[in-house]
Symmetry: C2
Subunit: 314 residues, 2 copies
Amino acid sequence: MRECVKISWSIHEYMAGFERVAMMNKRKVILEMAVDLFAEHGYNQTSMQQIADSIGISKGSLYSFFQSKEDLIISIYEHYQQLVFERAFVVGLDGNMPAEERLAKQFQVQFEGILEYKSYMKMHMRGETAKNSEKLAGMEHRMRGRLFSWLQYNLQRLFGNRIDPYKWDLMWMTQSIYSSYMMLLISTDSELKPADLGKHLVRQIMILAEDFFEGKSMPLLDDEMMKPFSVDMDREGAFISFEKREKAWTDLYDKIHSLKREEAGEYVIIADRISEECRKSKPDDLLIKGMFRLLADEKELSGEVSELKKQLLP
Amino acid sequence: MRECVKISWSIHEYMAGFERVAMMNKRKVILEMAVDLFAEHGYNQTSMQQIADSIGISKGSLYSFFQSKEDLIISIYEHYQQLVFERAFVVGLDGNMPAEERLAKQFQVQFEGILEYKSYMKMHMRGETAKNSEKLAGMEHRMRGRLFSWLQYNLQRLFGNRIDPYKWDLMWMTQSIYSSYMMLLISTDSELKPADLGKHLVRQIMILAEDFFEGKSMPLLDDEMMKPFSVDMDREGAFISFEKREKAWTDLYDKIHSLKREEAGEYVIIADRISEECRKSKPDDLLIKGMFRLLADEKELSGEVSELKKQLLP
DNA sequence: AGTTTATTTGACTTATAAGTCATTTTTTCA
DNA sequence: TGAAAAAATGACTTATAAGTCAAATAAACT
């Protein structure tokens, strides 16, 4: 009897889970359709009716998933900011790679992400969203803050403390070149390779930085001016998870390199494979698990491996 | 009797003129108020009623000046693009100035223009204008094309033919840094000096260009990719007037320098004064006339002077 | 199969803002 | 001063799109 009840429960749970998946898929379908339409025609020029029609459902149905149009656009931002930025910023990269090459690779990954979520980026670039949604404004602000934090972190890693006086100038330049390349990627169907863009961008930062270091250029920007851009990067929010994940990756690569065994090379390849898979829009969890299993064979890595696993497969 | 009629006529003309001025002022008042509101709240979030209320007139009255909201925004663009860009691009500058300094000065003038018409630039930056006004899209496209033409002209003047293979890369970089500085100027109340920004910008272009010339960087962009940006710069339209005016200025300065007289220095000062005055939002025509009169005393300059006068005081 | 429950629908309400026009107010001018 | 012309007004019409809900349809369950 108990057994029976148990089975009944698990079927129930199974079905509920199945249903939730179906629901989630529909929600996702709406989000994706809406993003396409918003990117194409703009937020204010796209009606809820159009969105519903394009999907082939009724307006009432649409409103059963999203309370309002504003709720819809906020959901879109939540959905995609997660996908694009978390995945782009928090990449597992071998720390032993030269800093320059490493940064270039990071930019490359970001450009790849941008290409993958072209519609969302297009919509985002258009800017013109809901009237003055407090919530959206906050998200946008935090996002920009996170970009700057990330830039600062990486520039410091690349140049050390000597950039301090030129920090804002370099960050601003980097950000502006970065944005303009992004625009090129998004608005044209050019053959531009993310890898080339990444290298180019880093090269240009290096040149500009060099000019500052040699004292040939004077900085223009300072803390005071840039206050609106420096967010008190929510240590509670997404940024903390970025740092933890970043640390887990670094620790793993460091440990592998410290092994000084012949297998080390192979472990790096496996770690790289995990990193690569995680960046995909639909990572294969099983593959990742398998890779982790391979790494777990090496007892000395177990601590780092399980920490990273906890970060990546929650 | 004839006298009387004549007087009557001239009073009539005088009053009509006065009225037209009043009308024009009102039109201008509307344009300026609308630009402020559009910049602050966005095009779609600003109703015609709000605009009318802010000025203290009725909606009906508003519609007697502008047929529709779209007509209003188009009029705004026509009004300000004229002011900002024509005045910023076509500056009389002493050609004997070192090319580098000269370009910096040109950027400076542009940044000054941007500051002067901050609201318009803000509105323009927001982008989100009328649905899909053919006319506006065309204007925007032509504007961007003109900016690129101007950049190309000036980069070629600065570096000569050797930039040809890197032309698009340099132009794109310049444009992106330029835009980002513009954004800084507009969105913050920073103490940034247009002169500093101009110098900085040129310095950065020079460094980047140098890197290309030394073969250390490879160009990423080419004609094919940049097709959407290269407008068949309407030779009939505003661009032709730019070139003619530019030529008139150059000719005058060249002639002055060719004089090799002791007065030459003074003439340069006078020409500079005219250039400066022309850049103001409300140039003093009388002052300009006076300056021209001073120059006209020098018989050898008369040709160049009258040509420039024709360009500036139509 | 028949009943209950959940989902979907699209006609309807409501809100907003563009655009109109008969009427009022102001200005012009003899 | 007062008639004619010009300008300004705001109540009204119209259009659009967000958001609601009773009824219809489909799915789940016994």
